[in-house]
Symmetry: C2
Subunit: 402 residues, 2 copies
């Protein structure tokens, strides 16, 4: 008997132009366009197996081995329903196709990074879900078309359906049919963009991005100006910078837009803070690192960006990552040795040091644990279809024990 | 022989609508109007003695006993020159007046609060300087007229020439002649407004407000919107709230404008941070304290505001101050007993506790020293002319030894 099953993985993406605010909370239509870099699935990914089987009683989903309820009308149910609808259209057009759209599905999904890392897993998770259902249902794979559906699971998930540099065009229509992701450039266009994720310790439970962004829409008097007059120009300029591989402009806009996102969060009533003193110190280090570079006649060498949490993501050309790791470790000593996936440090390991001319007084050293870990990765590709040996469902249709 | 000398004190003021940005850096003309509460000189003040004497060799000034250079064309020189010019006009009109405008002056000024408290002393300092010269020169005392001159010493000093609730009208003219302070209401109108200053420890030297605000003017894409579209309406509404003694509206606008000032500082390139994790936690405490009040059918009970530093100033009706001190001390234990100038606590002292229904998880307790001290004060009066016994210059024209 045929097993209808597919396994895919999807990447994390970190925005340079931030998504913050919905004009339609049900369809997840944003108040502004956004742009992100897709990170390499070799390091960070969500993997999802979907199986359709007439013997299943109902649709079920497991996340990291724990079953999640698929609430009627909820985001998971919406994505599954939309994908099933596309399958049904195919079946209606081609009578030779097996009628698997009528079967219940079992879905098992895992992230290869710990939740404690504070990395948003909803983007890679919903992208992997949609990609895996697209493979299961053998849908013609137009990533922009799929991004319309992933968007309804989690807004930023739509950008994880592409590799490289990805724009989410906000669109104008009330039904959301023009609010989807497009690829600005594939990773092969600019593979030199690397990323260092600084996982920052935080005691406080922050405001969720879903509730936080709507409070900003309702109460910030600055957000409307950002939406109408700042983001459109930045989208244009950063896209041009990516096409021209102009890191200086890319970095400048990325940092400005991270700051502005946190500024409108602070302009919210009551105010929302995602960055803490550790985040602020990392900003001070990167500002000083860039200042030295520019003072020596060069250009910007790194760009920080912060999502809705205290973690820093530092984008930089590969050649600068070694200096940046040394810099961060100097101020934020690590409990564990740096995992060096690109072999930058050989056998010597990281010493912790600053570049010549660096003003060490811009921040004070923290104790071990303030930055819990460092992850070195780079721009990556879009969702991958994996072989049966990587499936997360066992023969019985339940999640494999790991 | 007649001694021409006068001693005055002037108050600190803390803005509710923040001044941030100059359209003319020499004349100190702001990009937006601002509004502040003058604090009681019984607790915080600058005191200045000015003497004019033909035996003096040149103008000299001492601040807290240390001589400061009066740089030609600098802010001190400008204020002294302008005041002397007003005196000369009087002398020209009335030949019976002694010609003291031609004498050099010696000026001694002291703040009764330590510099380490992190309270901006330039506002009270320049207000006391101008008020003391006005008394020395026996100028007709129109505080708005004097505020034009104090403004050229330090922008916010113009607001310290009035007691109560004070607006600095930005004006439009290029010569600055319509950029002065006016009193919205005297302290007697609403004497119930008290203030608790939380002096926050900070390791980092922050960006000076003079350089910081101009970087914001040059690089923030949000500041122009604030200036044109947000501040004018807030100035109108908070003035109405003061006249109506409407603390709820007063508090709401005060907190929103503090947040927006820090938001445009963050939208600056590179970003400027004045608040730290302690500041953020105090905000969380006041937000929760207000939430409980509103949940119980009441109105806002306190308003935080932050200037260009990590210190919190909490405005509240007098009846709430006891609860607020208990709340702050619960999370920020104090090394020294609370100085209780209004006798709120009797002999029991402060225990540190929260009001009923307060969610204690909104912040975590800090260790002793995170908040270095608490100062309880209230809305106060304008500059005071003091008796000769309070003079800060000795007979020899040099600062008295304290």
């Amino acid at each position: 008997m045929t097993v209808y099953q597919a396994t895919t993985s999807a990447p994390v993406n970190i925005a340079c132009i931030k998504y913050w605010g919905k004009r339609d909370t049900k369809l997840i239509l944003p108040t502004n366009s956004s742009l992100s870099v897709t990170l390499d699935q070799d390091h960070l990914r969500s993997t999802t197996t979907s199986r359709a089987d007439p013997s299943f009683k109902k649709d079920r989903l497991w996340l990291n081995g724990e079953e999640e309820e698929i609430k009627e009308g909820g985001r998971l149910a919406t994505c599954i329903k939309e994908m099933r609808g596309l399958r049904r259209q195919l079946e209606d057009q081609d009578a030779s196709l097996p009628k698997i759209s009528g079967y219940p599905v079992h879905i098992s999904s895992r992230n290869n990074f710990p939740t404690a890392a504070g990395l948003a897993s909803s983007a890679s998770g919903f992208a992997a879900l949609v990609a895996s259902l697209a493979a299961l249902y053998q849908l013609p794979t137009d990533a922009s078309r799929l991004s319309l559906i992933a968007r309804q699971g989690s807004g930023s998930a739509c950008r994880s359906l592409f590799g490289g540099f990805v724009a989410w065009q906000m669109g104008e229509k009330a039904d959301g049919s023009d609010s989807y992701a497009v690829q600005v450039a594939p990773r092969e266009h600019w593979p030199d963009i690397h990323a260092l994720i600084c996982v920052v310790s935080d005691d406080k439970k922050g405001t969720s991005s879903t509730s936080g962004m709507q409070r900003t829409v309702e109460t910030s008097t600055l957000l409307q100006h950002r939406i109408k007059h700042v983001v459109p120009e930045r989208m244009q300029k950063i896209s041009e910078a990516i096409l021209a591989r102009d890191f200086d402009t890319f970095a400048r806009i990325t940092m400005q837009d991270s700051n502005q996102f946190h500024a409108v969060a602070l302009d919210t009533d009551p105010p929302i803070f995602y960055m803490n003193d550790v985040s602020r110190s990392i900003i001070a280090l990167i500002v000083e690192y860039n200042r030295v570079a520019v003072a020596n006649g060069g250009k910007l060498k790194a760009a920080y960006t912060y999502d809705a949490g205290p973690n820093a993501v530092i984008y930089a050309p590969k050649e600068n990552i070694k200096e940046i790791v040394e810099l961060i470790v100097k101020y934020f000593p690590q409990a564990e040795a740096f995992k060096d996936p690109f072999g930058l440090f050989g056998t010597q390991g990281v010493k912790g040091r600053v570049v010549e001319g660096f003003n060490e007084a811009v921040a004070k050293p923290f104790s071990v644990g303030a930055v819990k870990g460092l992850i070195h990765t780079r721009v990556g590709d879009g969702p991958r279809t994996l072989g049966a040996e990587e499936a997360l469902l066992a023969e019985d249709g339940l999640p494999k024990k790991l």
